[in-house]
Structures are given as structure tokens and as C-alpha cells.
């Protein structure tokens, strides 16, 4: 009965456009007050405070800040120039450059929205100028930007790891193969598309030019080595790696002498507010988590599903369909916070590796970022391209298909995401 009350209130609040974090908190308060009386309210303030000070989650604002510095310091421009020299000679050169740069960006930044905004503002106008349709330009930027959450570091992975209680570092390692495979497949798809639409090359291949742009971007290449090398080498934790990323990005920005202080200030404030919106969700999920524990909802769901079937692949198929559907309606952070605590007992009882499931969740979130009406990354790309999100979605199907293929491959051939984890950690 209380569960019904909670979910009815939650649905009503979401329908009248109350932010998800506040909706979760209010719905939980209503259910808990109905159960225990108004004395529960004192707990609200304490839980909301404690929920927002989780140490591993400090990595989130720091990775956002590192990305903000990178975007304000000429690093993006150099990386695009390097990608242009490397793959610009292939048919549909600008889309190749977009995907290649996104794959590199993904190793420094953990936010797809930030990448779409940073790369899109440069590459979408360039694509439109070269005769690419605005829908295609928005699609390629949007889908390639979602690689940011699959290739480490990744903000949704940090969030998942904290909620599921698994290793952030292992989850980061598991993202490598699916992320790069997805990037290369997107390149193949955009090549076929470019051939059909006769899209131009960007520049002819020139070894001298490649050497020059590599030299110019050399310092930027050290960023992923510092961040990921430090984390995977066991020198720093993910949070400390994020702190180092900030320092390294600042040092490189000063060396490049293109640091724009105003842009940095704005990006940092934006990063702070992005952190706040995600962390407020985390804090309110503390309240929901307490309720779920008291009512034993996750255990009940696990029990009812496992009495239906014990086949873990079938359960994963059900969960994939469920995550795919909610991806249409929920922002990635909200999806993690609402779904992960509920399904974890089920995942554990079936003996599914939480790291493997983390990759499955992350890939579903990457797809969710592309599927309207709630498609955070596609929305950013479309607003830059000045095109309609639904029209862009029709073109974006080809890239979403790539992400779905990677999702199915990672779900049913666990060695794809888990091979590096086994090699490094087990």
C-alpha cells in the first residue's frame, strides 16, 4: 500500500514538472510520514545532507572542471586539427573528424553533454558549411559525444559504482573495448553514409601536416596518460585522478597560452550547477533508498522475477528492454538513481558481475541520451545545428543502431567488456 502511495505521488509530481530530485524526496517523505508520523521529518534534513557528501562522487565535479578547462584553452582546436590530418582524407571527412575527436575527448571528459556542446559548436557549423544536412551534423556529434560516458572516465560510471558498491576503476577499464569498438563502427557507418550522399573529404592526406598537428597536440595527449595511467596503474584513486586531471589541464592551458578566463569562469559555474543537479538527485535517493530498504522492495522484485526464470540472459534481456524504454523518458543520472538500487539484489542473486552490469547500464544510458523526448545530448547538438530533434532522430537511427549492437554484444559476450578487467584485476 505504501509503495503504491509513493509511486502514485512520484508520478503525479513528475507529471506536474517538479524536478525529479524534489519529486523523489517529496514522494518518499509522504510515504514515510504516512508510515511513521511527522517525527520522520527530522531525518529528512540529515539524510539530504549526508547523501550529498559521498567521497567517491567528488570525482564528478572535478572531471567536469577538467573538461571545462580543456574546452577553454585551445586543446579542443588542436585535437580537431590533429584528427583532421589523421582521418580528414576519408570520404565524409568532417564526420570522421568528429568521431575521432570525440573518442579522444572521451578519455579526458566524462560528460557527453559537455562534449556535444564543446565539439558541436565548432564542428556542426563547419559541417553545415560543407553541405552536410543539419540533421546529420547533429546526429554524428550527438552519438559520438555519447562515447564520453562509455570510454573512461565517465560520470554515470562513477555514480553507478557508488550506488552498486563496485569498483570505479574496474568499471572504467571495462568501458574501453565497447567504447572504442562503438567509435570505430560509427566511423564505418558514417563512411557508408558519406559514400551514398557523396559528402566531401576534408583534406588530402599529408604526412608533414600529420606530424605538425601531432606535435601541436602532443601535450594534450599526455592528459589521458596522466589521468587513466594514474588510475589504472594504482597510483591514484578515481577521485584523485580527477584532481590531477584538473591540474594537468590547467598546466597545459597555460603552456598553450590560449586560456580564456571568462570562458573558464562560465564553464566552471556551469560545471558546478551540473554537479548540483546530479548530486541533489543522489541526496534525495538517500531518502528513497531508506524507504526501499525498510519495505524490502528490491528483494521482493528479485524474488518475483527469479521465480519466473533463473536464466540470467533472459533477465538481462528484460532489464535491457526496461532500461531502453526508460531511456526515452529519464535523464541518465535519474535512471541510475531510480533503477540501480532496485535491481542490484536481483543482479547479485543471479551471480551477474556488477561491473558487467554497470557497462550494460552505461550503454543503455548512452542510447537514452539519443532517444527523445528526453535526449539530453541530442537536444544540445540539435540546438547548435538549429534543427528539430525528431527530424534528427530519423537520421540518428544509424548511429543508435551501432550503440544497440554494442549493447547486445557486451551483454551476451561478456568477454568484450570484461577481458581487460580480467587481465588487470583478476
Amino acid at each position: 500500500m505504501l509503495v503504491l502511495l509513493l509511486f502514485s505521488v512520484l508520478l503525479f509530481l513528475l507529471f506536474i514538472n517538479i524536478p525529479i530530485a524534489i519529486s523523489i524526496a517529496v514522494a518518499t517523505i509522504v510515504a514515510m510520514v504516512a508510515k511513521t508520523g511527522p517525527q520522520y521529518l527530522v531525518n529528512t534534513a540529515l539524510a539530504m545532507y549526508n547523501g550529498a557528501k559521498s567521497f567517491p562522487l567528488i570525482a564528478i565535479p572535478l572531471f567536469i572542471l577538467a573538461g571545462a578547462i580543456m574546452n577553454s584553452s585551445g586543446i579542443s582546436r588542436r585535437l580537431i586539427a590533429f584528427a583532421s590530418a589523421l582521418v580528414g582524407f576519408i570520404k565524409g571527412g568532417l564526420s570522421m573528424i568528429t568521431i575521432a575527436t570525440s573518442m579522444f575527448f572521451a578519455e579526458i571528459s566524462g560528460s557527453a553533454v559537455a562534449d556535444a556542446s564543446a565539439l558541436g559548436s565548432i564542428l556542426i557549423p563547419a559541417m553545415k558549411e560543407k553541405g552536410y544536412s543539419p540533421e546529420y551534423a547533429a546526429s554524428v556529434v550527438s552519438s559520438a559525444s555519447s562515447l564520453a560516458i562509455i570510454i573512461p572516465p565517465s560520470i554515470p560510471m562513477i555514480l553507478y559504482a557508488v550506488i552498486a558498491g563496485c569498483s570505479v576503476e574496474q568499471l572504467f577499464v571495462a568501458g574501453f573495448v565497447p567504447g572504442f569498438l562503438g567509435g570505430f563502427l560509427m566511423m564505418a557507418v558514417s563512411y557508408i553514409y558519406a559514400k551514398r550522399k557523396n559528402l566531401p573529404i576534408e583534406e588530402s592526406f599529408n604526412l608533414k601536416n600529420l606530424k605538425r598537428t601531432t606535435k601541436e597536440a602532443a601535450l594534450a595527449f599526455t592528459l589521458p596518460i596522466i589521468i587513466l595511467g594514474g588510475i589504472f596503474g594504482g597510483f591514484v584513486t578515481a577521485t584523485e585522478g580527477a584532481g590531477l586531471a584538473v591540474v594537468a589541464a590547467l598546466v597545459i592551458a597555460f603552456i598553450y597560452k590560449e586560456f580564456n578566463l571568462k570562458q573558464f569562469f562560465d564553464a566552471t559555474v556551469e560545471g558546478g550547477s551540473q554537479t548540483a543537479t546530479v548530486m541533489l538527485l543522489v541526496a534525495s535517493s538517500m531518502l528513497l533508498g531508506e524507504f526501499l530498504t525498510v519495505e524490502q522492495i528490491p528483494q521482493k522484485i528479485a524474488l518475483s522475477l527469479t521465480t519466473l526464470t533463473q536464466n540470467k540472459y533472459l533477465i538481462l534481456a528484460i532489464l535491457n528492454i526496461f532500461l531502453f524504454i526508460i531511456g526515452f523518458f529519464l535523464h541518465s543520472a535519474a535512471a541510475i538513481i531510480l533503477v540501480v538500487p532496485v535491481v542490484m539484489p536481483l543482479i547479485n542473486s543471479l551471480g551477474i558481475d556488477p561491473v558487467h552490469f554497470g557497462i550494460i547500464v552505461t550503454l543503455n544510458l548512452a542510447i537514452g541520451q539519443q532517444t527523445p523526448p528526453v535526449a539530453s545530448v541530442l537536444a544540445v547538438a540539435c540546438s547548435i545545428a538549429k534543427t528539430d530533434m525528431w527530424a534528427a532522430s530519423k537520421v540518428n537511427v544509424i548511429f543508435v543502431a551501432v550503440l544497440i549492437f554494442i549493447l547486445l554484444l557486451s551483454t551476451y559476450v561478456p568477454i568484450v567488456p570484461m577481458s581487460l578487467v580480467e587481465y588487470f584485476y583478476r
Binding site: L13, L14, N17, P19, V42, Y49, K53, S54, Q274, T275
Partner: protein
């Protein structure tokens, strides 16, 4: 009505505060790593960084409220006709105000209860000071919601 210039100043002060918080958090983590590497780990590092994150969360939320950046599902309300949307908009704002008033009241009660307690690792910092973020930011969020309701109303009524 509130003047545009006071909203602008409020917006600006919130931005400066968030910016400084982000920089301080980065400094704390970097200093923490350096000391750990030097073999002299800072005992207060985890606790202080966690508190800084909580402060960014709540003061950042006040800014996010002002700019309408909180994650929601704004398309759902559009299924209702405009007359009903108007009523639902008012209800939604009342619920948000009530929630943050409750947080202000009980957050203040928590501070009173915690009077005399200090942080575990830094015993000269009172718990009531760090936990004041809940009532203080709740008041700021109410102010932000008040400053931004016109824009939020326009967005709700737009098809």
C-alpha cells in the same frame, strides 16, 4: 515586483560562490594527493572534501533553480490544456516551496541539536556551521524559485 538588477546581482553572487567552491574543492583534492604521496596523509582531507561537495550541491542547486536547470520531465505537463496547466503550475510551486520550508525548519532543528559538536578530524570547526548549508541553501532555493517563476510559467504555457 523584484527589479531586474537585484536578480542579476543575486545571480552573479551565486556564480562567484560556486566558482570559488569548485576551485577550493579541486585544491583540497590536489593537496590531499600530494601529501599522501609524500607519506604524510592529511587526516581531514576526506571529511573536508565531502563537506565541500555537499556545499556545492546545495548552493549549486540554488543557482540551478534560478536558471531552471534541475532535471525534470517538462514535456509531460504539456498533455494538459492550458487552463489546467496554470493550476498545476501553481500546485507545483507550492509543493516546492513547502518542501524547502520543511528543509529549512528541520535543518535548523538539526543545527540546534548539533550545537557543541565539531568535525571528527578538525575539532575547531562546529558541525552546526557545516550543516547550516541545508537551511541556508533552502532559503536561497526558495528565493531562486521566486525570482524565476515568471520564466518557468512562460515555459509551462508554451506549446
Amino acid at each position: 515586483m523584484v527589479s531586474a538588477s537585484s536578480v542579476k546581482s543575486y545571480d552573479r553572487y551565486l556564480q562567484y560562490f560556486i566558482f570559488l567552491q569548485m576551485i577550493f574543492l579541486s585544491l583540497t583534492v590536489v593537496v590531499g594527493v600530494c601529501f599522501r604521496w609524500s607519506g604524510h596523509s592529511l587526516v581531514w582531507y576526506d571529511e573536508v572534501a565531502g563537506i565541500q561537495l555537499a556545499w556545492i550541491t546545495y548552493f549549486g542547486s540554488a543557482y540551478a533553480s534560478l536558471k531552471g536547470l534541475h532535471i525534470g520531465m517538462p514535456t509531460l505537463i504539456k498533455v494538459f490544456p492550458k487552463d489546467i496547466r496554470k493550476i498545476l503550475f501553481v500546485i507545483s510551486k507550492i509543493i516546492i516551496f513547502l518542501f524547502f520550508l520543511i528543509l529549512t525548519y528541520y535543518g535548523t532543528k538539526v543545527i540546534i541539536v548539533l550545537r557543541g559538536d565539531t568535525l571528527v578530524t578538525l575539532d575547531w570547526i562546529p558541525q552546526s556551521f557545516v550543516q547550516a548549508v541545508i537551511p541556508a541553501s533552502s532559503i536561497l532555493i526558495i528565493i531562486s524559485e521566486f525570482f524565476s517563476y515568471e520564466e518557468a510559467y512562460k515555459q509551462t504555457m508554451k506549446d
